[in-house]
């Protein structure tokens, strides 16, 4: 951080906490970027001439006589085509031995898009994973997190989705990422030969936690450049937002704020929304889609972080280990894509909504049968069919290693329904039954006889 002649320099810090320091300074603007002993910091409270700075790398070793330099502007990022293929830290500085990124300097965390300038998100974002495409279809301009336990392979699923989804740019924001996972992402992107459409902002668990606060703003500022200025389809990956929220809590705590639920700041909802609402579909075709990871504690979604996230995002995806088939599946009950209604049956085949719902309902019946079985009750004939159906449904459609088209998924759905059920049990609109239900009268009769 070079000091320039016109910058204001102070050397008298009056108070220091683990995350912040306070000093007397004049003419400071709110959210202005400063450097404390060369460490980046931001003005988060100004009372008379006392300024509170949140010091991103932490305050270890800062002395009261440390040099504080004010920049006169909020944190910025240089945006331009040269961002492509780059790995940067939370300040937008290279960590890949490349040169400093040249481009137009923009303040991060800019204003909100005027809602009337948005378009309704309605282009399909296919991934080939049936647990997503069939049951929880994604749409460009959507924001959706994976709710995952720490033991689940969420980062590799995230990378897989990113590689398969059709996007012009993929922007990865890593917060508290383990160094191994960072290398995994880097290797995956390199091996797939897609480096030219990647931009990464990385804060690993080795870096100071407060720096995480800048990662989503950096990633979204870069995304807005490509999506709005360049009219591209941008996919933003944010992992892990729980660690981001933890950093928010640290700062709030050091500022003596009264914590609300789960020791989180009362403004958690707005803080998270500021990032997630950057997801947008522009009328000119550019879009920002955000897929994030929110790690859970033992699946507890009532914790303030996943809870607030769920109210902001357009659905959530749950991964689950299915012990019956020994694979990771996308949980059909708890997962939800709110924007799927914009595309299913419209951009996909007409029978998509009804087939999807019926399959999930039958899978729910199977789950009930299973509970019955576990409680030692006799299963009736319908229960048994449901269980056999569930096994095949899980194996052929829910498992995350599936990679097929949506039409194929629907065909498999019809095949399974006809294999295990009768017309009256599926209760689908007659017009679709006439078109897709291929089982003949004779076969129906045979099954019915068997049943009786």
């Amino acid at each position: 951080m070079k000091t320039k002649a016109f910058q204001r320099i102070y050397t008298e810090i009056s108070a220091i906490t683990k995350a912040t320091c306070v000093l007397k300074a004049e003419g400071v603007t709110y959210e202005e970027l400063a450097w404390v002993d060369g460490r980046p910091a931001q003005a988060i409270k100004v009372v008379d001439d006392m300024v509170t700075l949140q010091v991103f790398p932490g305050t270890e070793g800062i002395a009261t006589k440390a040099e504080v330099v004010f920049s006169g502007h909020p944190p910025t990022l240089n945006v331009g085509e040269l961002l492509s293929g780059r790995f940067l830290n939370a300040y937008g500085d290279p960590i890949d031995d490349g040169p400093k990124v040249e481009g137009e300097t923009r303040a991060v965390g800019g204003p909100a898009v005027n809602p009337i300038q948005r378009s309704k998100p309605s282009s399909l974002l296919a991934t080939g994973i049936a647990g997503i495409d069939l049951n929880n279809t994604l749409v460009t301009g959507q924001k959706i997190p994976f709710f995952a336990d720490p033991g689940q392979p969420y980062n590799s699923v995230l990378a897989e989705v990113a590689m398969r989804a059709e996007a012009d740019k993929i922007i990865l924001g890593g917060m508290g990422l383990s160094h191994d996972d960072y290398l995994y992402f880097k290797n995956t992107f390199t091996q797939a030969g897609v480096l030219d459409k990647i931009v990464c902002f990385i804060n690993t668990s080795e870096n100071p936690p407060l720096e995480r606060l800048l990662i989503p703003e950096m990633a979204c500022t870069a995304a807005e450049y490509f999506a709005n200025d360049k009219k591209q389809k941008v996919l933003v990956l944010l992992t892990d937002m729980t660690l981001y929220a933890d950093a928010l809590a640290i700062v709030a705590n050091k500022m003596d704020q009264i914590p609300s639920k789960d020791a989180m700041p009362g403004s958690l909802y707005s803080d998270l929304a500021k990032t997630y609402e950057k997801a947008v579909q522009f009328a000119h075709g550019g879009s920002i889609t955000i897929i994030a990871v929110t790690s859970l504690n033992e699946g507890d979604i009532t914790h303030a972080i996943p809870d607030n996230t769920g109210y902001i995002t357009e659905g959530q995806l749950f991964l689950k280990q299915d012990t019956d088939i020994g694979k990771v599946i996308v949980d059909p009950f708890r997962s939800l894509s709110r924007l799927k209604q914009n595309v299913i049956g419209k951009k996909t085949r007409e029978d998509h909504p009804q087939v999807m719902n019926t399959l999930v309902r039958l899978y729910a019946d199977a789950k009930e049968a299973k509970t019955k079985q576990e409680n030692g009750f006799d299963l009736n004939e319908y229960d048994k069919r449901c269980l056999r159906f569930a096994l095949e449904y899980s194996e052929r459609l829910l498992a995350i290693d599936i990679n097929i088209s949506i039409d194929e998924m629907l065909d498999i759905g019809w095949e399974l329904m006809q294999k295990y059920f009768e017309k009256f049990e599926v209760s689908i609109k007659e017009t679709f039954m006439n078109k897709y239900w291929k089982k003949s009268k004779v076969e129906e009769g045979l099954v019915e006889e068997k049943v009786n």
């Binding site: 988060i44 009372v47 909100a112 909802y269 769920g310």
Partner: protein, 585 residues
Amino acid sequence: MTKGVITSIISNLVTIEVDGPVGQNEICLINSNGVQLRAEVIRVNGKEAFAQVFESTRGVKIGSEVDFSGHMLEVELGPGILSKNYDGLQNDLEKMGGIFINTGEITAPLDKDVFYSFTPLAKPGDTVSAGDWLGNVRENWVDHKIMVPFVMEGAYKVKSVVEAGDYKIYDEIAVLVSDDGKEYPITMTQKWPVKQAVRNYRQKIRPYEILQTGLRVIDTFNPITEGGTGYIPGPFGTGKTVLQQAIAKNGEADIVIIVACGERANEVVEIFTEFPELTDPRTGRKLQERTTIICNTSNMPVAAREASVYVGMTLAEYYRNMGLKVLMLADSTSRWAQALREMSNRLEELPGQDAFPVELPATIANFYSRAGCVELNNGNSGSVTFIGTISPAGGNFKEPVTESTSKVAQCFYALSQKRADAKRYPAIDPLASYSKYLDYQEFRENTNANIQEGWVDLIKKTKDIMRKGLEARDQINILGDDAVPVNYHMDFWRSELIDFTIIQQDSFDDVDMNTPMERQKYMINKVIGICDMDLPFDDFQQVGDFYKKLINLIKQMNYSPIDSKEFEQYERALNEQLEQKTAVA
């Protein structure tokens, strides 16, 4: 006017050293980087005023100059409000330039150059008071009354009214004279502070008439009335917003005000895209023509969230005073409460439960009480029906916002995670939910006369069948299918029949999404008729199979237009099934 300078900034809370008098809730303007940021005074302490800023405070400096306006946050009322998309401070979003919302941008809420066709209703010599009708203009298809401004106290004589013709909103359309001879020129517009209720009516009356929403689980099971209040709490993913949008589309109101308060921008965009396309079946006009949207989405400034619900309510009250049925929806009131919490926290007030401000219950109660059915001074009636959604933290209804609301709202629509997981939509729990209007004598008399004799009792009977079915289900689950009498299975399947055919409704199917009252009456009678039949079954397996067939046929009926061939066909098939079964007996 009073002036001041900024002395501290913490997020969107600033303190200002003032040089003159300031009022609580007074609006002031902070001069920063060439624009003016609006802020509202929320505490005064000597020469120091605390204000919440309605915009991002990035770039504001200590010493920035502040101008005080002398008034509270006001809305501008007049023709042209309908079809508009406002932000939380009544800025017209359409008039803003650029893709992003620029800090400090202020746009006019009404269109000053549009001509409206005016017809006088008052004549010179009439005695009038605030809220009385002076004339009428057509706004879209709505008769928009030009009223004596609400702020004018006492009685006035009409000195003159312009002739029928086309006028712009700021043209003088009448002159009123007060007792002491002072003249007041009147235009088509007026201003009103949003935090105060408009009370220019004769009296509030007890609601008695159903406000149809087209949703069976509401209209039939737990009806809301014109002028009623309701709330919809639910964990995320249970369909709060889909439900509210369905009500906005199908609700039988003259005017619909939607406040998107701290929620997703894409949901608002959905309304922006759909409402200009969709037709209101009652009027044949576009839904957009009767709708005003106020949006402060979750990434827009937090302080304006509180303002947005008050702006919405004031617009609703304004139209109510024209003798119209207004439906106001707010999604979600929890975000508003959170905005209050953030501010209370920054003011370092002692916190109440879950860190919410202690006055939260009172604030919510006052707000809900602004809804209601009123008799106007001229004998006409109007109503504001208010339905708010709540996003309870962790999906747990034992939290301050839900609890405070439950004490004031008359209808409770509990969204159930269990029903949502089982894809039983709308996920309103039919038994946990309630409508207190079912117990109103006025409501009972009205439904007896307008729907059918004994309607309320029929609904209560239906709920009993549901309740009995759930008890039977629990017994079956504990004891096992064949360890209970077949009767238990019949009880259970009767409740499933009601659940699948009456309560569940496909909000994405063109026919099923909106069921008029006449059809709801027909179907509930049909289904209860079936529940009343004592059908013979040999074992529990038969019960389920038979009722599943019935459910399938009735669902097909629900998907078909009521006077269509298919409907008739499915009904015939249904009757045949029932006849066969009873013939066996």
